[in-house]
């Protein structure tokens, strides 16, 4: 099993949840939050998850 597959998938799911929150509930704030942290953190997780998935895909193409 290529670990990059499940962990990539996990971060894509987290990213989708957080980005969704950031887009549809942009006003969510804790007492000291200044920015839409869900949106930015969610986008970072999406990118990271996609990167892991891409690496896993590349490796599986090399060794069928």
């Amino acid at each position: 099993m290529d670990l990059r597959l499940p962990s990539g998938l996990f971060f894509v799911i987290l990213g989708v949840i957080l980005t969704g929150l950031g887009v549809f509930a942009p006003g969510l704030r804790a007492p000291l939050t200044d920015l839409n942290v869900n949106l930015y953190a969610g986008l970072c997780m999406l990118v990271f998850g996609a990167f892991l998935l891409l690496m896993a895909l590349r490796a599986s193409r090399k060794q069928p």
Partner: protein, 555 residues
């Protein structure tokens, strides 16, 4: 602190993935070696991250933020001085013997190099220690979850233990290691935003530093005298105690971490595991310590409506309660959504600490206690079965240990005292065992046993924060931490001296029996032709330069 539905969704998603990874690996568990040793087939990037994640347990995460608030940037010494040099040494000089000897565990190496009694002593001590440290981890987790989220103590302890049991039972060490990598990513994802936002709120890096007492903003500058720095430690105690004895004792001999490197798929990968792990390890202070440091700055900043931006929580009996800080900080900065990620990161660290102990325990019990003393020859299937049963027993015993800690306050103190020195003398044994072929089995055994007395005597004659000094108070230390450094130094020195003296008085072992176990009698393969970052030595130089640069920056 209250959680929204979405936070529970994130937590549940994580649980599904953790158990899912165990489920996907269950078919690969055909032999006891697959289950307990990962069949020595794990890629190096995974063993490297697992190597550092196994150490990122709950107490580490919560304790480092707490120490950050107490001691400031000096806390980074636990990483840059107290881990990186030992990890470099382990990869360069010790891994060739661990991996090359084909030993399946640290106690088994002692058996190959010395004899049965040295192995037995170490195996039993180690097995008991892992159970208690996983018990303490569970206990602390349960207390926090109860305190912060209002969850029931028993329910949270049993639920987390059940999940850890499920994925380690299904996929063995491989499952624990794979999950540790996921846990590592999640810890970073859950804590880094907090670090960044808190730091920005305090006016950026410079703004934060300007709001802290001067002696909290440097790693080395105030180390000349114990009275000048918040830790109350002098230079020698710091370097010899933390930087040498304690860190080398932990990172080079604790099977919990060594096991991760031994699961690598080749000698070169095993040697590079601690070296590659050292790179993210070096930057972990910015993720786990920084929130605690920033909190002190925030506690000095006025809030628009009066009071301060952040108040360090107080204990019921008075004094600061640094241990709940990380939770209240998250509450201040994280809205629903990312709060779920942060708490899942905390849960991940709870689980990685527990799973690390359980997988180390089942290996040592199965191979070093059961196979050595209870049933020596049996088909491998039998040992696979014993390994699985030990996994269950380990989790159940840990829950028991958690309840023991809950019922008796003094037990925790006693255990923390034992943990403080237990690895230190073992490092003396390994140092002599691997690099001095004259060291004998009787020497090693008497060194290890006598070191316990060295530690108890040091504890009996010194005092710190009301601890120790039960025989006579000859010296008072600035803090309990410094006392622990000195207990470790005493235990290490006793072991070293006694081992050397007894070895010289006993009959040496013939060289021919020690091939692959001792420096000078072992051929270490050179990895010529590989790229520099695929070879241990150049990689070690790179890591060393990097850590020196960071130290100079924050000196």
């Amino acid at each position: 602190m209250t959680l929204a539905a979405i936070d529970y969704v994130i937590l549940a998603t994580y649980f599904v993935f953790v158990i899912g990874i165990g489920w996907m690996l269950r078919k690969r568990m055909a032999t006891s070696g697959d289950f307990l040793l990962s069949g020595r087939s794990v890629p190096v990037w995974i063993t490297s991250l697992a190597f550092i994640a196994a150490n990122l347990g709950s107490q580490e995460i919560v304790g480092m933020a707490a120490s950050g608030a107490k001691y400031g940037i000096m806390t980074c010494h636990f990483y840059w001085l107290g881990a990186i040099p030992a990890m470099i040494f382990m990869g360069l000089f010790m891994m060739p013997f661990y991996y090359g000897s084909k030993a399946r565990s640290v106690p088994e190496f002692l058996k190959l190099r010395f004899d049965e009694k040295t192995r037995g002593f170490n195996a039993i001590l180690f097995a008991a220690m892992t159970i208690f440290s996983s018990g303490i981890s569970m206990f602390v987790t349960g207390i926090w979850l109860h305190l912060v989220l209002g969850w029931d103590f028993a329910a949270s302890v049993i639920a987390t233990a059940a999940i850890v049991l499920l994925y380690t039972y299904l996929g063995g060490l491989t499952s624990a290691i794979y999950n540790e990598v996921l846990q590592f990513f999640l810890i970073v994802a859950g804590f880094l935003p907090l670090s960044i936002m808190a730091c920005a709120k305090a006016g950026g890096w410079q703004g934060m530093l300007s709001r802290l007492p001067a002696n909290m903003t440097h790693t080395w500058k105030y180390m000349g005298h114990a009275a000048d720095n918040p830790m109350g430690v002098e230079l020698f105690g710091m370097i010899a105690g933390l930087g040498f004895v304690m860190s080398f004792g932990y990172w080079c001999t604790n099977f919990l971490v060594v096991q991760r490197a031994m699961a690598a798929d080749s000698m070169s990968a095993a040697r590079r595991t601690p070296l590659i792990g050292a790179i993210p390890k070096m930057f972990m202070p910015f993720v786990v310590i920084l929130p605690g440091i920033v909190a002190v700055a925030l506690a000095h900043m006025p809030a628009p409506g009066g009071g301060h931006l952040y108040e360090i929580p107080l204990k019921a009996g008075g004094g600061n309660d640094y241990n709940t800080m990380i939770f209240t900080l998250m509450g201040k900065f994280y809205p629903a959504g990312i709060l779920g990620v942060g708490l899942t990161g905390l849960m991940a660290s709870f689980m990685s600490g527990m799973a690390g102990n359980v997988t180390a325990f089942n290996t040592v019990f199965t191979y070093d206690i059961y196979q050595s003393y209870i049933r020596k020859t049996a088909p491998d299937k039998h040992y696979l079965f014993v390994g699985r049963m030990t996994t269950i027993a380990g989790v159940v015993l840990s829950i028991g240990a958690a309840y023991v800690c809950k019922s008796y306050d003094n037990i925790m103190d006693l255990l923390q005292f034992v943990f403080a020195f237990v690895n230190a003398p073992l490092f003396a044994t390994f140092l002599l065992g691997m690099f001095w072929k004259r060291a004998t089995a009787h020497g090693a055994f008497s060194g290890l046993v006598s070191s316990v007395f060295g530690a108890i005597l040091t504890f009996g004659f010194t005092q710190a924060e009301g601890h120790g000094g039960f025989l006579y108070c000859a010296h008072r230390f600035g803090s309990q931490m410094v006392q622990n450094f000195w207990i470790a130094i005493a235990a290490f020195t006793t072991c070293l001296v006694v081992t050397v003296v007894v070895s010289l008085a006993t009959v040496p072992r013939p060289d021919s029996e020690m091939e692959g176990l001792v420096y000078g009698l072992t051929k270490i393969k050179k990895d010529e032709g590989a790229r520099w970052y695929q070879r241990p030595a150049p990689l070690a130089v790179f890591v060393a330069v990097l850590v020196i640069v960071i130290n100079i920056w924050l000196a």
